[in-house]
Amino acid sequence: MGQTVAEKIISAHAGKPVYRDDLVVARVDQTMASDTTAPLAIKAFEGMGGSRVWDPRRCVLVIDHAAPAPNERVADLHAMMRRFAAEQKCRLFDIGEGICHQLMVEQSIARPGQLVIGADSHSCTYGAVGAMGAGVGSTDLAAVWLTGRIWLRVPKTIKIEVTGSLRRGVQGKDLILTIVGKIGIAGATYRSMEFCGPAIVGLPLSERLTIANMAIEAGAKTGFVDPQGLRLPYEFEAVVADSDADYEQVMTITASDISPMLSRPHAPDQVVAVDALAGKPVDYAFIGTCVNGRLEDLHIAAEILRGSRIDPGTRLIIGPASRQVFRDAVNDGTVEILSAAGATFIPPGCGPCVGTHNGVPGSGETVISAGNRNFKGRMGNPEADIYLASPATVAASAREGRFTNPLNFIGT
């Protein structure tokens, strides 16, 4: 019987052929924990009687969710992570190095065909490079540190075939917002998603990462972007689904029909076209996060803001996804263009998206964010309204001080 990508990867890690709904124990290739989840995982690991992690080369710690530390409590948790990493001889990315999911891909840690377990819900991002990334909590992660294994139910798969091609200025973000809007916030719960079709083949890695990242916003356990057209800085063998794989559902989306989209408060699946809300005043615009803080995202923002200023009634905060992204953007002049336009740069990290620091919105304010979640209180203030959009839409809206379709500024 044919297998989906998730079934193939889990089979390879369970040592036997498995199919949807099977409950299995699988070998894990890589793990990741952040400063939100690692401290509890360390406590759980010690509670389990753990002294050495099963394989320090497969344990990555990242200080990104509240980095640099906004207060003494967080500073102590960061110190705890540094101590653990030193004792265990595992890899730690310290403050400013970047957002966990960006680093796992940029540093070639998560690779095609691997099973990667991350103590962060956006671990599904690794599906952009053909790794099965699944998010777990701290105790689950500690159990992997101890045993090198995890129990999993093999997910059913929803296939999303994207035909045509995206118009210039319409980004992967607009595509995935459209998909999440159609499937709903719980529509892919416990499922794997496979994104494929002609519109996907030509996409750069940055857009593929954006798409895979938000599979969790439909409730998915994991998501895979078809590796056709994928370019990585190393040789790899892609895992592809069999032609007779058993899909629970197949959905078709026409890329050329998609326009810039927004997700309204207070859930990512409340999706409308930017044009439906064009003109709504914006207090705070934010570009960054694991979904849209990459160099290509800063490039499109710079294309829209070059030679102009953001509206005086709006502030624009930019958090690059990693130090590498920031340095590339400095070296190619992007930071200068955005800074001259009035953008404020914050250190690479999660910052405003998780409401810890570096840009908490005020009560009654309207935020347009290139992030992936707009739950009430997500950015630290339950009295603020968060709208999600592509970096292009955020930049255009910052420029005008109101919700603006970025296609107005994109040359064809």
């Binding site: 409950l23 129990w151 719980a186 409401g355 009430k376 209180g377 339950p382």
Partner: protein
């Protein structure tokens, strides 16, 4: 919570909530960076129902609609509920990561597709039999049940104690 023979019974008062309660609503991100569980409980459900933390009594049961616990993987969410005194959560269904986290920290979670429960009703949950009884309204509901390994983890008080005892997962390979 008590054990009667093999049965695993939880009896408590119901608190009712709706669909799609996300983990940011259960515990906001700004409060998650701590190992002090009491401080999590002090902010539990703060943006959704600020009075919950004053009303909740040890042993109470949270009853929600569909997709409970969606969003972030923060284990602080079930920990905040458990530390506040919540003895179990019933929902039409759960978001995947929350479900795992709850079992792992020893907070029983049961999926009941259809129920008739009012706020304040007293419920009795039998985890092993997979049954929920509304003692106030005298009606029973079937649950989706839990695999044996999850019941074992819950009986151990969570995955930490389970692995301390067993060293590995006892699932038939």
């Amino acid at each position: 919570m008590r054990f009667i023979g093999m049965a695993h019974i939880i009896e408590g008062r119901a608190h009712l909530y709706g669909d799609n309660i996300d983990t940011d609503a259960i515990i906001a991100g700004k409060y998650t960076k701590t190992l002090n569980l009491r401080s999590l409980a002090d902010h539990v459900l703060e943006d959704l129902d600020p009075d919950f933390r004053n009303r909740v009594r040890p042993g109470d049961i949270l009853v929600a609609g569909s997709n409970f616990g969606c969003g972030s993987s923060r284990e602080q969410a079930p920990l905040a509920l458990k530390t506040a005194g919540v003895a179990a959560v019933i929902a039409k269904y759960f978001a995947r990561i929350f479900f795992r986290n709850a079992i792992n920290i020893g907070l029983p979670v049961l999926e009941v597709a259809d129920y008739q429960i009012a706020a304040g009703d007293t419920l009795a949950l039998d985890l092993t039999a997979g049954r929920v009884r509304n003692l106030t309204q005298k009606v029973d509901f079937k649950t989706a049940g839990l695999p044996a390994v999850m019941i074992d983890i819950l009986r151990s008080g969570g995955l930490v104690n389970y692995l301390k005892k067993n060293g590995a997962y006892a699932i038939d390979q």
